[in-house]
């Protein structure tokens, strides 16, 4: 009882924010550091002074081209795509009540891949440069709608298990379609299809990064606004309803909004795995499942993670680039295992 009275004595507001704010600040600083690193380092081997000069407005033509036209849009894309994937992963974990859920679990990435690969293999993709991302977006959205359709026909109102099953089934079907398409591909299309599926940020320019930002930022803000509802839905549909949540509306909004963020990332960057599963899960292990901290934290953490992974991917084997999805997995897994053991102990 004494502990209770001592706790009650401290100002209550400070107690709640005093844990969350410093943690978010830490992630924010990490993000900024990753951003700075990302634009300072690259295969062109520019000295840091040249980078600073370019940012200040001076600097020669070549450096400007590299820093402002290549590195900066690519860093922006990494930040936003990584953040979008991580925050969507956290939301899917809450909605499906499964800490192993990740953004592609409802087949969104397979749908995007089918469309993109079909365009590449048939040769239509090269007619118009913007066609493949557009097609990928289309494929992603169509897949979401299809999964919903299947789930609603089987069970009521977007039940988590039914949705999961529908997503896995549709995803597997689309996977088979992808393999079928690949058998008709010539060698170059085949290789490029595989590379598209492995994910890459090499195509980043200001307009594509800008558009992904346009998708991901508002959707992320919207999801953060629903943080309390996610805390409640994790206790079950009924409990959430009894505590004031309109469950059907929440489910529809959450799935659609999160899926749009994922679709935008996949359409431009291909399928970059692991971020949407590991970043939110790691944060859960470290700091708990309060979504008011978890969601913004996931965004910042995912952004920083992809920034660092992409920086590594394009510098380690310079002048070649490694697929960024390989880095995220190779680096992410050991970190995750360490985290798992630490919290189990």
């Amino acid at each position: 009882m004494t502990m209770g009275t001592a706790q009650a004595a401290r100002p209550p507001l400070a107690r709640e924010t005093e844990r969350a704010l410093p943690r978010l600040m830490l992630l924010f600083v990490l993000c900024v550091a990753a951003l700075v690193l990302s634009i300072s380092v690259g295969a062109a081997g520019l000295p840091f002074s040249a980078v600073l000069a370019t940012l200040a407005g001076d600097g020669d033509e070549a450096a400007r081209s590299i820093v402002l036209d290549l590195r900066l849009p690519r860093a922006t894309l990494a930040l936003v795509a990584g953040g979008g994937l991580a925050i969507s992963g956290a939301v899917f974990q809450a909605m499906l009540r499964n800490p192993l859920a990740e953004p592609y679990i409802l087949g969104v990435s397979n749908g995007a891949a089918v469309a993109a690969i079909a365009l590449v293999v048939t040769g239509f993709g090269s007619r118009m440069p913007g066609l493949v991302p557009l097609g990928a977006m289309f494929g992603a959205i169509a897949t979401i709608a299809l999964v919903f359709r299947v789930a609603l026909r089987v069970g009521r109102a977007l039940d988590a298990r039914v949705l999961l099953l529908a997503g896995v089934m549709v995803g597997a079907f689309l996977n088979a379609v992808i393999l079928l398409l690949l058998t008709f591909a010539d060698v170059e299309s085949f290789r490029s299809a595989i590379f598209w599926m492995m994910g890459s940020l090499a195509g980043a320019n200001w307009t594509s990064s800008g558009l992904v930002t346009l998708y991901v930022l508002p959707t992320s803000v919207g999801l953060i606004a629903l943080a309390r509802s996610f805390n409640l839905i994790a206790l079950g549909d009924e409990t959430a309803a009894f505590l004031g949540t309109r469950v059907d509306r929440l489910k529809t909004m959450a799935y659609v909004v999160a899926s749009l963020a994922v679709a935008a990332s996949v359409a431009v960057c291909g399928v970059i795995g692991f971020i949407g599963l590991v970043v939110p899960h790691a944060l859960r292990l470290l700091w708990g499942s309060d979504h008011r901290l978890l969601l913004p934290g996931s965004f910042l953490g995912g952004g920083a993670f992809l920034l660092l992974a992409d920086t590594a991917a394009r510098t380690i084997a310079a002048p070649a680039e490694l697929p960024v999805g390989v880095i995220t997995a190779l680096v992410g897994v050991p970190i995750f295992v360490v985290l798992l053991r630490r919290t189990a102990a």
Binding site: M1, T239, G244, S289, D290
Partner: protein
């Protein structure tokens, strides 16, 4: 009147018979009201219809005089605190966070907890005697402690009434008694309305002001515990031989009807075949 249903019927999709059949119920303000009946009699269904989770195929459901469909879930959460038998906890959560979720219906999306919210949480935890568990994970608590924490969450909502669905089904006698005592205090001190669905007939008899007895979806009896819990009625609804004994006391409980089930071989003349499909006549 807090909770009111009139001639409500509900059938689950694909079920052979109605779960609720022409049920009428009126729970007055400040009452401790018990809903009792055998398994499958429709008690939990009635609670969900009362709280607007299920839409009845016929009849009228009102909360505080207004049709329950016209209540937003948020407003409803500010009026009624609900405690169910148990809930799933996929992600670990500490007791204090669990109780603070009771304040969510009072807050906007980005609004942090205010001083008044924290005070409500502290009060709720103190009344349910879970303050000492504040930092512990809910999954590490015993069943009884967990239910007290969930009752504290309901209290934190600062509602006017409470609805509980078999809150003590898995608890030992000490925890069961603690819960019912807490509920009685809420009625006494806060003038709250408490509606409890329970299969513990004896506690319902001791604490409730009025009882509703459901039998296969129909109202079998409604009234004070003494009126409802008669030997004939219980034997016909539950299909088991019983005796009614008076509670020995001391205090308020003295004289309350207590149901004592008999062993099967005590009264060989009792017909133990299950009751027929026709409903039993009301008292």
């Amino acid at each position: 009147m807090t909770f009111g249903v009139e001639h409500v019927s509900y059938r689950y999709a694909g079920a052979p018979r109605r779960a609720l059949d022409d049920v009428t119920l009126a729970v007055g303000d400040g009452t401790f009201y018990g809903v009792i009946g055998p398994n499958g009699s429709g008690k939990s269904t009635l609670l969900r219809v009362l709280l607007g989770l299920l839409a009845p195929e016929a009849g009228d459901v009102r909360l505080d005089g207004k049709s329950v469909q016209r209540w937003t879930r948020r407003d409803l959460a500010r009026r009624v605190g609900v405690v169910t038998q148990d809930e799933e906890m996929i992600f670990p959560v500490d007791v204090r966070s669990l109780v603070s979720m009771g304040r969510y219906p009072h807050l906007g999306p980005f609004q942090p907890l205010r001083r008044s919210d924290h005070e409500a949480i502290e009060r709720a935890m103190a009344r349910c005697e879970v303050t000492e568990f504040g930092a512990r994970l809910v999954s590490t608590l015993s069943g009884g402690e967990r239910q007290r924490a969930r009752l504290a969450r309901a209290l934190a909502q600062e509602p006017v009434s409470y609805a509980l669905d078999e809150p003590t089904a898995a608890l030992d006698i000490a925890h069961e008694m603690t819960m019912f005592e807490l509920l009685a205090r809420l009625v006494r001190e806060d003038h709250a309305t408490v509606l409890v669905v329970t299969h513990n007939l004896n506690l319902a008899a001791r604490y409730a002001d009025r009882l509703l007895l459901l039998d296969r979806g129909r109202v079998s009896a409604e009234g004070s515990p003494g009126e409802v819990l008669t030997r004939d009625r219980i034997e016909s609804v539950w299909g088991w031989p019983v005796r009614i004994a008076a509670h020995p006391g001391p205090g308020r409980d003295s004289g309350a009807p207590q149901v004592v089930p008999l062993a099967a071989d005590n009264e060989p003349a009792i017909d133990l075949t299950p009751p027929t499909q026709e409903g039993t006549p009301h008292a």
